[in-house]
């Protein structure tokens, strides 16, 4: 903690009745409505399932979760906080404080999983692994170096790539277990984290695009090149990290497809076109289905194979502004 914390030089009382950017208001509402705590998830129901895993599978799971804990810690205590002084509106500042707090909730929730499923020794071993794994440390270091840098827009790029891309080598595993009917309550908790990260990535990416509107064309081009360079750098490291974790269980190639799929989504959150072609982003349908239960149903009328019209599933809405 050698460097001085950068703070906003002037603060006015925040007036939520005068919104400059409606997206701030919408995202605040969405984040606060999504609020959750790990204590609400019945993790102890996963104990019998945990006991069916082999020692290697348990070790892999613990390592994956310490890796995710590290990223959430980075984002909670440095990443989201570092974005506050660059805010365009006071409401944006408030949204980042919410994001920072939720990242700390995420980081703590892995400890809830650990204490439910595992012994103190296994937990300590896994945390030791996380400090010793070079590729994991490198990914945190790369992102932290941009958070410390002096470019507000580069900070947002690094932050969006963390939220929308870097978590997914880890998120893969609980989705994999869930698709095999294992650790399903843990998977429920992870899905809450994924939902939060989706809003964070969307919001920070949106603010990046707002920032781009204020710079000249040459700077925009430079930032675009920077984004793709950083993504490549992180991607290469992520591939190594994936092999470190998943080679022992033979899942690395499947995980990489999930990485490509999410790298595309991270780029889109920043307003750029996706980079990875379809033949390397065809995520295992079981994983996609664990992520979003009806996403892989190939029933869309325009998809080709679907020949029958599908009327939307019975979903009631409590909105009262419909007239029919």
């Amino acid at each position: 903690m050698a460097e001085k914390v950068k703070l906003i030089s002037h603060v006015d009382a925040i007036n939520w009745n005068r919104i400059e950017d409606p997206v701030d208001d919408e995202v605040w509402d969405r984040l606060t409505a999504n609020f959750w705590l790990p204590e609400k998830v019945p993790l102890s129901n996963d104990v019998p399932s945990w006991n069916t895993l082999t020692p290697e599978e348990k070790q892999l799971t613990m390592r994956v979760f310490t890796g995710l804990t590290l990223l959430d810690t980075v984002q909670g205590t440095v990443g989201a906080v570092s974005l506050i002084p660059d805010s365009l509106t006071p409401h944006e500042e408030a949204v980042y404080t919410n994001i920072a707090f939720m990242e700390s909730v995420h980081a703590k929730s892995y400890s809830s999983i650990f204490s439910t499923l595992s012994s103190t020794k296994e937990i300590d071993d896994a945390f030791r692994w996380s400090t010793e794994n070079q590729n994991l440390q490198r990914k945190a270091d790369i992102v932290l170096s941009y958070y410390r840098g002096d470019s507000p827009l580069k900070r947002k790029v690094a932050s969006t790539l963390l939220e929308s891309f870097l978590f997914y080598s880890g998120f893969y595993l609980p989705m994999y277990w869930s698709s095999h009917a294992k650790l399903t309550n843990t998977a429920d908790l992870i899905r809450l984290i994924i939902r939060d990260e989706a809003v964070h990535g969307y919001y920070i990416g949106y603010k990046y695009q707002k920032g781009l509107e204020r710079v000249d064309e040459a700077t925009r081009e430079e930032l675009k090149a920077y984004t793709f360079d950083l993504l490549f750098e992180l991607y290469e490291n992520e591939v190594q990290y994936t092999h470190d974790l998943y080679d022992s269980v033979g899942l690395s190639e499947d995980v990489k497809k999930f990485l490509h799929y999410n790298a595309n989504k991270a780029l889109m959150n920043l307003g750029y076109e996706p980079m990875f072609p379809k033949d390397v982003t065809d995520v295992n349908p079981a994983i996609l289905s664990a992520l979003s239960p009806n996403a892989d149903e190939n029933h869309d009328f325009f998809s080709g194979s679907g020949s029958s019209y599908v009327i939307g599933k019975a979903v009631n809405t409590e909105d009262d502004d419909w007239d029919f």
Binding site: D21, N34, K265, F302, G312, K313, V315
Partner: protein, 140 residues
């Protein structure tokens, strides 16, 4: 034949509509603000809507889309709905499109994520062309 879409100021769905425009589809954007007058359609159209809101049961359909569909003539001319979303929202992926399809009894034609992949643009463009052709044949 028209594609009507709603996109917030984040412009995700707008970016997808721009690509459909480039492919030759006629696309019209709903007004950004709920207080603005909505559109009155006079020919068959397909709606593209993103999903909003916090939970599965509230606020999923953008208010501007509700205002537009509250006009009976618009509902009569609605041929189908396309959802824009993100699978990271789990079971609420493209929830608004599901709700509109059910409420208006029209088919859910397609779903895509965020700005859409090139394949999505191609699938939707070709699907719309087939649909427009069917509509014209039925009229003839």
């Amino acid at each position: 034949m028209t594609v009507v879409y709603y996109s917030s100021s984040s412009n995700y769905t707008h970016a997808f509509a721009q690509k459909l425009r480039a492919a030759g589809q006629h696309c019209v954007r709903l007004p950004l603000l709920t207080k603005d007058d909505t559109l009155l359609m006079e020919e068959p159209f397909v709606l593209i809507t993103p999903t909003y809101g916090a939970g599965p049961r509230r606020g999923a359909v953008p208010k501007q889309v509700i205002k537009f569909l509250n006009v009976p003539q618009n509902r009569e001319l609605l041929c189908g709905v396309i959802g824009a979303g993100n699978t990271n929202f789990g079971e609420t992926y493209c929830q608004a499109a599901h709700i509109v399809a059910q409420k208006c009894q029209v088919p859910l034609l397609y779903r895509f994520e965020l700005l859409g992949l090139p394949e999505d643009v191609r699938n939707v463009n070709e699907g719309l062309n087939r649909l427009w052709k069917q509509k014209l044949q039925r009229r003839a």
